[in-house]
């Protein structure tokens, strides 16, 4: 394409960023409505606008999938790969907004910006998955990160929430700087910020040393965002303090988007020196995450460590061969999103005003007092363990089999051992729920409609991926073909 001569984008190029446009418009509508409405009554309306926005973005994504191709001077690329992640991010957004409905009321957080920021964050995450140009990826990463920094501090009356926000902001900006430095060095090494051009340059000959450094720095920045092992220290504190539905959001949607970026950078750009880097980080994340989770009594912290471990499992797929590794990683992000958003939806319902009930002890006797809720949480926890007939099983299965095909026996052994360790702390929650009597009865309010729908969607998605993984995997395999072409 002759970029210099063509100034005006064609109409079809706007379709290629249609979900982002839709999300932005709805976000702006929320920001304009919020100051005009009485803040005591605006929450339901603004939440509904946010939900409609997320659903409209899903529709836009489906519509967009008919018009694959490059847009805006080779900056965005709509292919089945980007559509997959668009769908994932927007679906997670919708479910999180449904979860937040009740949560905001119980916590008495009166701020319409909450829903606007969720939508703006989703814009960044969507853009990350379709961007094929490092500078645009950086901007998308910032849009998504800044929204989540603010969202993490939304329980303004709780000091722990502000702490979470500040920590996340400081360390996150630091990590973004690493990423940006990597982008700069990559530009120096190859003379371009377009992933396709970088791929051609790196594949054509011996890659310069600068390219290795660039990849390493970018990996540090992105590794921070997905909470992979040497860069994971922020995770438990941030997840503990942030509002529970937001933790469900930021442990799935931005992670999925960042993994999409990593897949593009590592495979489409033929990143040199990928294998051992990923090997070490994956093994470390799995081990540290699982060991850290063993001693946690706070369920949010436990799930934080579990998310570190899951980032490790996911990275195993990145060490595998592209043809198997990419679909395995995509399947894993999808099933992890389903089960983790669901688990945090349950946590946010049980937390009650001021997030008082988030320790293991508070879950005792839940199986008797609220059997349906306990059963739903059990589904998610079993899926996080990787029990057959849940999404988590096939996710781990595909990742490890992809790694075996790449002859990474050592990494697979570490992974399987870690899964066994992980089973202990997830089962502990289940045991506490069903087999221990509460010393002090924790009140459980009935599940409202919005949360019920959110839980149903997550549970159905988790089981669907565990029983009929074929269609999603087939789609992911096709996307991998698109990506590697």
């Amino acid at each position: 394409m002759n970029g210099a001569a063509q100034v005006t984008p064609q109409a079809v190029e706007y379709i290629r960023i249609l979900p982002e446009i839709v999300l932005t418009i709805f976000g702006i509508i929320i920001m304009m409505l919020d100051p005009l409405m009485d803040e005591r009554r605006s929450q339901r309306t603004l939440g509904a606008v946010g939900l409609v926005g997320a659903l409209a973005a899903i529709v836009a994504t489906l519509y967009q999938s008919q018009y694959p191709g490059v847009g805006f001077w080779g900056m965005v690329n709509v292919d089945s790969f980007s559509v997959f992640f668009h769908f994932l991010v927007t679906a997670v957004t919708a479910v999180v907004i449904l979860t937040s409905y009740e949560y905001m009321e119980v916590q008495q957080i009166r701020a319409g910006e909450y829903y606007g920021l969720i939508l703006f964050g989703a814009v960044g995450m969507c853009l990350m998955s379709s961007a094929v140009e490092l500078v645009l990826i950086f901007i998308a990463l910032e849009i998504s990160s800044i929204s989540t920094y603010i969202l993490a501090g939304f329980r303004r009356r709780a000091a722990i929430s502000s702490e979470s926000s500040v920590k996340y902001f400081l360390l996150g900006s630091f990590a973004t700087a690493f990423f940006l430095y990597g982008v700069a060095l990559m530009f120096g090494a190859t003379g371009s910020t377009s992933i396709a051009v970088i791929g051609q340059v790196l594949a054509s000959g011996q890659p310069p040393v600068l390219a290795y450094v660039g990849i390493a720095l970018m990996f540090v920045g992105l590794g921070f965002k997905v909470a992979a092992a040497p860069f994971h220290v922020w995770t438990p504190d941030v997840y503990e303090g942030a509002p529970a539905p937001i933790v469900g959001f930021m442990s799935t949607a931005p992670k999925a988007a960042v993994f999409a970026v990593l897949l593009r950078i590592l495979f489409e750009a033929h990143a040199p020196g990928r294998l051992w880097l990923i090997w070490v980080v994956a093994a470390l994340s799995m081990t540290l995450g699982n060991i850290g989770a063993l001693v946690q009594d706070n369920v949010k912290r436990l799930l934080a460590y579990s998310s570190i471990a899951h980032a490790g499992y996911l990275l195993v797929a990145f060490a595998a061969l592209p043809a198997n590794g990419i679909p395995a990683a995509m399947f894993y992000t999808a099933s992890y999103a389903a089960m983790n958003v669901g688990a945090f939806a349950v946590v946010s319902h049980l937390a009650s005003a001021g997030e008082r009930y988030v320790t293991m002890e508070d879950y005792a006797g839940l199986g008797r007092r609220s059997p349906l809720l306990a059963a739903t949480l059990t589904i998610f926890l079993l899926s996080l363990i990787g029990i057959p007939a849940t999404g988590g099983f096939f996710a781990k299965f595909y990742v490890f089999s992809a790694a075996l095909q790449a002859n990474l026996v050592g990494l697979v052994i570490i992974g399987v051992l870690n899964s066994a360790v992980g089973a202990y702390y997830y089962l502990r929650v289940i045991v506490v729920m069903y087999m221990r009597e509460a010393r002090q009865e924790v009140p459980v309010s009935p599940v409202p409609l919005g949360l019920g729908v959110a839980l149903a969607i997550s549970a159905v998605a988790t089981i669907y991926l565990g029983v009929l993984p074929g269609r999603v995997l087939e789609y992911a395999t096709r996307s991998a073909g698109d990506l590697l072409r």
Partner: protein, 132 residues
């Protein structure tokens, strides 16, 4: 001009060394041969204007930060407008509409901060919005 990279900057290095030597020589000489008679007033740190009272690190209103943030938003907008104005002819109508969309979004932000009472420095707003 010599070709050697180092030789080309040698005069600069000499200049630095000479300047450093001269400055330290003057200070050293005045310290060695100067006549000293310290008093309390002479030893106190030099400061003109008011007598310093209290600590500079006081609490001040968060409104200052809001105004600073708003300044940055509009400053960045202005920074965007200048290069845009230079290449507007090449961008044709597309550039015009794109900038209109951008300015529209900034205006939405302005509307938001206005309605939220950021520009209102009276006491009434903070009382009305008791939560903040």
């Amino acid at each position: 001009m010599p070709d050697n990279y180092f030789a080309r900057y040698l005069p600069l290095l000499i200049h630095f060394l000479l300047a450093g030597a001269l400055a330290s020589a003057i200070v050293l000489l005045s310290w060695l041969i100067g006549y000293r008679k310290p008093t309390r007033a002479k030893l106190s740190p030099y400061e003109c204007g008011m007598v310093p009272v209290g600590d500079a690190r006081q609490r001040f209103s968060v409104k200052f930060y809001l105004v600073a943030m708003m300044f940055i938003i509009f400053d960045v907008e202005a920074v965007f407008l200048y290069p845009w104005a230079v290449v507007l002819r090449q961008l044709k109508m597309f550039g015009f509409w794109e900038m209109l969309v951008y300015v529209g979004i900034v205006l939405v932000g302005f509307f938001y901060v206005w309605k939220k009472g950021v520009l209102d420095w009276g006491k009434a707003t903070s009382a009305r919005r008791g939560e903040v």
